[in-house]
Amino acid sequence: MAGVPQALDGLKVVEVGGYAAGPWIGKVLANYGATVVHVEAWDRPDGFRLQYPPYPKGKKGINRSGCFSYFNDSKYAVTIDVKKPGGIELSRRLADWADILIENMRPGVVERIGLGYKDIKVTNPDIIYMSTCNMGQTGPRAATGGFGSQLSALAGFCGLTGLKDGSPQLLYGPYIDFVAALVGTPLILGAIDRRNRTGQGAFVDVSQYECGATFLSGAIHDYCVNGRIAERDANADPVAAPHNAYPCRKSRPTGDEWLVLSCWDDAEFARLAQVIGQPGLAKDARFATMAARRQNREALDALIGGWTKGQTADEAVNALQAAKVHSYPVNTIADLFSDPQIAHRRNWRVRKHAEIGDQSYYYPGIDLDEMPGDVTAPAPCIGEHNLLVFKDFLGMTDDEYKQLKDAGVI
């Protein structure tokens, strides 16, 4: 959709499915120039459109979900009813147009409706076809469907979050879906590169559960080799001490105020002690070495917390960073919109959505100096680009389009 040349210009992507895991891959590809078509049906829209707030002004509507919108910027949207005669043929025609097809349904679903890899490959032999789901396409529990929020528990993330003797904690939203999307995206582009060199297509089977394991690789390896089971331990670190969150004097209107800090050697701790006005702590036997500080963590945290509660998070962090001590305010979600570094990176790109109005879309943490990427458009309304995609992209005639529209396929 961009006027400026982008790295992925000309790459054509079709998405079948919905929610987060599939569409987030398409969003990232679109941000670097790919042409991404999100396929839905009027009677089965993307689940995020139907039940997921926020809705601007609290008013629901199929095009008013801020959740759907947030994950689908820079794309085109079409509607195809695969249950109507001609629906499957139209879907296949769209798949034939594509370089990449991404689907995130339960295993077996796309095959049942006739849009599996084997079906598409007949007419588009070099397509890169990615299936992403909870467990992967094979294995004893392949058929499991489910939400990423719960899969994040199976994959170990929730159990590693919380106080040592407390309950596991939720991570916000379908955490593991975004893990899998980011692990899957380089794979898709690697397959495209191979195809460009060799003409070979690919069927890519991504298990979100396995992708989750890559984010815990060291902990899993430590168990396999040393038998050590990583456990949730609040904010403690096996090496660094201090290493925690501390409450600050409230100055921001948007919620409670905390900062985090950590010290990775004795010299850094000495600098911290200086900043908090207690230089003697660096020589205090309870805190002089990393091992001693870990041992006396609670007493140390109380001393540091005594200092932070008199400071705003910004005051404290400015003093600490000036002294070369690892630290940062605990940004609330609101704070992400005023953080000066995030502003510098331009991670929020405001685009005007037809029904939602101005919305801030996330631009990834990846900048290319010469082809930087962008949020090129707001998220599409349902079926917004039927005419453009079917006529301009697929080359459908006016008569054909009208026929399919009248038949309820489009």
């Binding site: 992925l8 210009d9 528990a153 979050t161 893990v179 298990s207 570094q341 943490g365 082809m371």
Partner: protein, 396 residues
């Protein structure tokens, strides 16, 4: 897939996984470590398997010269030097692109290479705080928490892998490389789903949810998510809707089969149950028998029954549970290599299955000094040059 490409991987922890992803995709990844680096840490080993290794002292002129010769011979350079540090000068993008205009140079740093806080010090806990993730984890009103295994590093490293591949596509299209600047803080924002949209559109500031699901019931009732079971916890929620109906009916059938007391659950018609209209007292009454029942169930039993009865919900696994899960074994996910003292060293395998075959881990974890000669020879140095460099102590 990436067999034609060579990668110079000079990363610290922020970028280890980037090189591992590229290696699993088939690239020849050469890890560079300074003399004396620790190679026995589990995280290092897990993320640096499938790479070759050379020890290179970038502070020595001979080491620096060699580095430049290697840069000329590779497709990708991955590095994590903190802006403003002496190492960052070694990785000056313009200077390295002058040596190799086709180079795809990926910098992974806490906050990106420029900006008001680019030089700030940050480890995982600071990055999880800076990206908003900590504000959403922990008990409501309690202390913000991080995940007890660093997550900001893989969030940054995976975005860097995307950036590396986007850079390759750019090179394919234009013939020239690019500098890819990855900010870990910005990458962490991807972990918090659409939470930012609530502030953006409604000026609601999402905060810590703890162990309960809120915001479903119009009466403000909260639903339990984490339940103690016989040997840990399970994640289960009384949902409404079609999926909720199947789940709730499945659970009641399971409790019935197990001879458990269903209590008030026996009286509920799940076809008409509406989870948005319940009061806290009603939720508490429904949850009481479930709580009692789950205390008699193990994590493994829960996983199996939930699967068979098509219920939503999973046990809260730890790494031991993950490693024992037959789903991974069935998909050939584990990669075993001979380790120290005749023991087997197990790694997670390639991260996906392509055309029915798992991405391959071709190389064991490299040892110091193992690949020095071979890498230098592959990069076009002759025997005499290699011998001289080895004697200088700048490389091994």
């Amino acid at each position: 897939m990436l067999e034609p490409y060579r990668v110079l991987d000079c990363t610290g922890r922020l970028g280890w996984l980037t090189g591992r992803f590229l290696a699993d995709l088939g690239a020849d990844v050469i890890k560079i470590e300074p003399p004396g680096a620790r190679l026995d840490e589990p995280g290092w080993r897990a993320d640096n398997v499938n790479k070759r290794l050379i020890t290179l002292d970038l502070n020595k002129p001979a080491g620096r010269d060699l580095f430049h010769r290697l840069v000329a011979k590779v497709d990708f350079l991955l590095e994590t030097a903190l802006p403003g540090s002496p190492e960052a000068e070694v990785f000056d993008p313009a200077a390295l692109r002058a040596i190799n205009p086709k180079l795809i140079h990926v910098s992974v740093t806490p906050f990106g290479r420029t900006g008001p806080r680019a030089e700030w010090l940050a480890s995982d806990i600071e990055l999880m705080a800076a990206g908003g993730a900590m504000s959403l984890a922990g008990e409501p009103g309690g202390m913000p928490l991080r995940v007890s295994y660093p997550q900001s590093y893989p969030w940054a490293a995976s975005q860097a892998a995307v950036g590396a591949m986007v850079g390759l596509m750019k090179r394919n299209a234009t013939g020239t490389g690019d500098h890819v600047d990855v900010s870990a803080q910005s990458a962490v924002i991807a972990s918090i789903a659409h939470a930012p949209a609530f502030w953006d559109l409604l000026k609601q500031n999402p905060s810590r949810a703890g162990a309960f699901m809120t915001g479903r019931s119009v009466h403000g009732a909260q639903y339990r998510v984490f339940w103690p079971c016989k040997d840990g916890f399970v994640n289960f929620i009384i949902y409404g809707g079609v999926a909720g109906r199947r789940t709730n009916e499945g659970l009641c059938a399971w409790m019935h089969d197990a001879g458990a007391d269903l209590g008030v659950l026996a009286t509920i018609d799940w076809a008409t149950f509406d989870s948005t209209q319940t009061t806290q007292a009603q939720v508490d009454a429904m949850e009481a028998p479930i709580r009692k029942f789950f205390l008699t169930v193990t994590k493994a039993e829960f996983l199996q029954q939930a699967f068979e009865r098509e219920m939503l919900g999973y046990p809260v696994n730890n790494v031991a549970d993950i490693c024992a899960d037959p789903q991974f074994a069935a998909r050939d996910f584990w990669h075993d290599l001979p380790g120290e003292n005749g023991k087997t060293e197990r790694f997670i395998g390639g991260f996906a299955i392509v055309d029915g075959k798992r991405l391959e881990v071709k190389r064991p974890v490299p040892k110091a000094g193992e690949h020095g000669h071979q890498v230098l020879a592959d990069c076009g140095l002759n025997k005499d040059e290699i011998a001289k460099l080895m004697a200088s102590g700048a490389v091994n």
